[in-house]
Symmetry: C2
Subunit: 679 residues, 2 copies
């Protein structure tokens, strides 16, 4: 059925213009004609160099990937939309802070002590495995084997090929389990993130979990810090770490940001940048890597007022939620709620957290994530990062990791600013002028300084500090002791000191405060760009009903690496001026286009660009040279339209900028009747 | 002279519209009224948070800086223009490769052995100094002292304050030197980059150079590798380095890129990303940092054809050049040449290198670098990186580093692809179908395989390999020995083997080659974004004639962090709908604007934004509410115009997108006669 466009164009030198023809019925596209095929999908991504293992010619390194031209562009477009959606729309302050970080920062933040995973060692061959992943993989394989054993007794497998592949990958064996065991495994898996290292060790013993690749038992779980360590400067005396998140760079610059915002909260800083985690044994492609691009927002807010001025704009957004109570009870049933209701009922802690959850939701759908494969899961108590007060993950379903955390939205409370203040003695606080000064009575100790110095000499300072630290109740108590003759206090060093009434009196005084000083809380939406990108690729992948080998990535034009493919019929020089003209016009319209003048058929060139996710193609042929017309092809439908070059460019501009859809484009451009001859 | 705009607006509730008024004479702006003042300049950058020492509240770390909101935006805009100017304009392939790199890659590339600087240790206090910087600083200070001593005898210093400052910074003392010594120092400085470590050590002895901060002598120069080291994975068995350049990521992916380009050269890959260099003792602000953003291009080209198809477009561009011969002779005199002439006369090695030098030149001028402070300097032989065949640096003059390398443009020849091929045995080559196959006669050895195996057994393979490696001349030689009875060869292991004529014959055969296989050469333009950004800030800084304290950054709108400041007269709620309307309209026009509704006078808000480099400001006042007008202020002239809101937005759009200039804007918008009252 493949004829060359050349022949077709020669037979139709003059193409009837139907500029005012109404939009025809769109060719129906069945994007789920073939079940998702991971092997074909991976082959496409590899063949088209979306990404590839880094240092491949050196044998590669687990958890490190390079993005090729389409992957880089897709990533850049996702980030550009992220900037528009968050930074521009909410007037956030962008930062660009360093990756290399001196050790004291992560000592204060808690990362040196606690940013670790539990690992176990194979007692036979020394292989190192992540403890929770080992439990998960073994129990899931047993459940799969059970399902197979039960299913086999009930009905034949619907797709033998697929089953075989799966079996090979997971090394399942069809063994039926007791109903109670199935229930126990499911309960363990539902709360897997909630177990401590020793608990994981106990689970491995109870359920005889060994290393599946060797059959050997594993040792006790041990902590492994996930930060890459290095050393700054030539002396080797300054240890440093590569940041595992961009967040600390925001917190350390808090005072400068606050000043930039004229001393007021709320405001948000934002940063897109690389972070590093020395994962124990990464094996999940882009979902678990050792170096990755993050996009993080730190929204600083008054702890007494976590309402959000724009909350009303999102209150009606419906979300799929999986709360912590459901999970702690071993369940995974989600519920659909509006953000408004979730905040009102206390499911989501506050308006600001809810607002960002809704904004994250909108962002993910806008770039093309499948709504049916998106949910928000709340962290359970033990699972939560050491700094978080409440946390919701945007989880995206995919074939590798199941429901996978792609965005975290945490209320870090005042944790970070407080620990850095404590360590550096630099106050990271907001000072707010109060409209109505607060007037309060307080007890204070008034000392006879001469007598104090004479009695206690060098210790006087410590004694005054001890009394100051007693607080209101303690001072009232001290007063009542003094009235009775003398009072005994204990200094910070534990020394008991007796105070005589001649040394001090406790008095009530009136204080007027016109400045309120507080440490802001932080709401942190944190995006793993690589994970989102991977899930988006999976959700965009399908193949044509008539040809399973012909993959298509239906990426939205907004994020597609290239928006328009320019296809000259041949590399003949007579097309060159037209190719140049169209290229320049598209560039001037701000549309990213590429020319494909390679020596293959137009059909093959289109097929390659279907795999690259290029939404539109324009073809220049002899009719273009003669009549100044150009055809426009839509990727998903393979529908082709024709029109004058400038009109086609105007339509493409409307399509790419989201101002018109394909149906409207079809109203402006008549169908191209050479289509069948070309595809 | 400061009156509030409020009062002025009330006095002029109705503003006369002069839409068709002709452009008035522009206020003349004297941007060099005050000499460049480094202290005021630094204070501005710090106050407005363009950038700041990273980990400042922890005491900072030398060579690590964070970019605040205006610095981040300026950097993002420079990178965006870089992408348009290079990647989009030349259809390059963008990559995003990892920073963490396993050691074998840098062993092959030569970085483990040679990517080092020479350092010396203070023999008293152990302070570590970079050897070449020590020589440079001490000799420059002596020359400065000499100039002072000579100048003091001739004329009084024109600006005493400035001289005092300089003296304090450089610790110069006014000591006159012999004319011959001055000449020698100048010659040393002109070729400083050309000295090896031992030569630097000798210079320190000859000229008694000690550590200026302690007066102590320093030890022998030692090499210090500049790569940050780390370890990948949990076992500690896989050493890794943070990349010191993005280039290796391009080279390792060469085969994938070549395939992406349908097997043809030339093509170019491009990457923007972080790199790391563990500098010995960085003290030059953004000019010498330990972590930085680079933008690198690797243009792969046929070594037999380094012409460039677009060379004609740049041939007439005039460049300021400082070639290697001039420098090696101890001189620093530049010459002005067109790129065309420079390539023709062999000053620049080839067209492709020249093309990129011209494109770099155009890029730097476009973002706002001062043309008078830009030159291209050729590397001298010893100075050149270990991989380069020819190299030109774009040097930008600034107050900290003098003429500073900001872009390197190197011809790396086939070095990189060759070393990785040698190490991995993966051929990184182009296979080109030849139009006319090459037919040639060659000598080949034909073996009696049976006899060979019987005679040499396990050694047979090594013997065949040895003979194959002899080459044409060797085989002819072998043949003549065989004719005489027997031949002796030496295997790779050094073993001598005698070959009898019964084992082999040497024959002439005809070979036809229809594929040409070659390793492409690489032209590499490599941009240090932070250095360019710093120089651009210096070149953009000035202060108003009437007020030295009032700094202005005259950044071009193209790269300015914010394009338009929206200034409501007050934070009164009646301005809110208008502020929102203008914000949305500007956002829809793709123009980055910010609202400043802070509680200070309009004059102060404008002054702050002059320091932030915001080129335009629009003011909403009571007249805006009543008449729908808005004033537009231009940063450099402080000129103010007025017009209907939509017309002002249209003018701003034209200005920001470079479609009109300020004179044209003045033709469309009449002067605002309340100006004097506001400024």
């Amino acid at each position: 059925m493949l004829k060359t466009r050349l022949a077709s164009a020669l037979r139709h030198p003059l193409i009837r213009r139907q500029v005012h023809a109404s939009a025809p019925e769109m060719t129906s596209v069945n994007k789920t004609a073939h079940p998702f095929d991971k092997i074909r999908f991976d082959a496409l991504l590899n063949r088209r160099f979306f990404y590839a293992p880094a240092f491949e010619i050196y044998g590669g390194v687990a958890g490190l990937y390079d993005y090729g031209p389409p992957g880089s562009s897709l990533q850049a477009n996702i980030i550009a939309e992220w900037r528009r959606h968050f930074i521009v729309e909410e007037a956030m302050y962008e930062l660009d802070t360093t990756i290399m970080t001196p050790a004291p920062v992560f000592e204060a933040s808690g990362h040196v002590a606690r940013f670790a995973d539990w690992m176990v060692k194979d007692t036979g061959n020394g292989e190192v495995l992540r403890a929770d992943h080992l439990v998960k993989n073994v129990l899931e394989a047993r459940l799969e084997g059970d399902r197979e054993a039960r299913g086999a007794a009930l009905a034949p497998a619907p797709d033998k090929d697929k089953d075989k592949k799966k079996k090979k990958q997971q090394k399942t064996t069809a063994v039926k389990l007791e109903d109670a065991v199935v229930a126990e495994y499911e309960s363990i898996l539902a709360q897997l993130d909630n177990y401590s290292g020793p608990e994981l060790g106990q689970l491995m013993k109870t359920h005889t979990i060994t290393n599946p690749s060797s059959g050997n038992p594993v040792g006790e779980p041990q902590q492994f810090n996930l930060m890459f360590a290095s050393s700054i400067g030539p002396t080797g005396q300054h240890p440093g770490f590569l940041r595992p998140e961009t967040a600390q760079g925001h917190f350390l610059n808090f005072n400068r940001l606050l000043e930039f915002n004229n001393g007021r909260v709320p405001f948000a800083s934002a940063q897109v940048g690389r972070s590093f985690r020395n994962e124990i044994s990464p094996r999940a492609g882009l979902l678990r890597v050792r170096e990755f691009t993050m996009a993080e927002i730190e929204h600083f807010v008054d702890p007494l007022d976590k309402n959000h001025p724009r909350f009303a704009e999102v209150a009606d957004v419906e979300l799929v939620l999986l709360d912590k109570y459901t999970q702690a009870a071993g369940g995974t049933t989600t519920k659909v709620m509006t953000v408004g209701a979730a905040v009102k009922e206390g499911v989501i802690a506050n308006e600001t957290l809810g607002y960002f959850v809704a904004r994250i939701h909108a962002f993910l759908l806008r770039i093309g994530i499948d709504k049916r494969k998106l949910r928000f899961r709340q962290h359970m108590a033990n699972e939560m990062a050491h700094y978080a007060a409440d946390c919701w993950d945007a989880e995206i379903q995919n074939s590798v990791g199941g429901w996978t955390e792609c965005v975290g939205c945490a209320d870090r409370a005042a944790y970070d600013l407080s620990v850095h203040t404590a360590k550096t003695k630099v106050p990271l606080v907001v000072r707010q002028a109060l409209k109505d000064p607060i007037v309060e009575e307080k007890s204070v100790a008034e000392w006879d300084k001469k007598a104090l110095g004479k009695t206690f000499k060098g210790e006087a300072g410590a004694i005054v500090a001890t009394v100051d630290a007693l607080g209101e109740e303690g001072l009232v108590n001290l007063q009542s002791q003094l009235v009775q003759g003398s009072a005994t206090i204990k200094t910070a060093e534990g020394k008991e000191v007796v105070l005589e009434p001649s040394l001090l009196t406790i008095q009530r005084k009136t204080f007027k405060t016109s400045i309120r000083e507080f440490t802001p809380n932080v709401i942190e939406p944190s995006f793993g760009i690589g994970r989102i990108l991977y899930c988006l690729l999976e959700h965009s992948f399908w193949s044509r009903e008539q040809d399973v080998e012909r993959g298509v990535l239906s990426l939205p034009a907004l994020v597609a690496p290239t928006k328009v493919l320019i296809v000259p019929l041949s590399s003949k020089t007579e097309f060159e001026p037209l190719v140049k003209e169209v290229s320049i016009k598209l560039r001037q319209a701000g549309i990213h286009a590429r020319v494909d003048d390679s020596n293959t058929s137009i059909g093959r060139r289109y097929a390659r660009n279907d795999e690259l996710g290029t939404p539109y193609g324009v073809t220049l042929d002899f009719a273009s040279v003669q009549n100044g017309t150009m055809t426009l092809r839509e990727r998903d439908t393979t529908d082709q339209r024709i029109g004058p070059i400038d009109e086609v460019i105007a339509v493409v501009e409307g399509l790419v900028n989201g101002k018109i859809d394909w149906a409207q484009a079809c109203e402006r451009l008549p169908v191209y009747d050479g289509v069948q001859a070309v595809e």
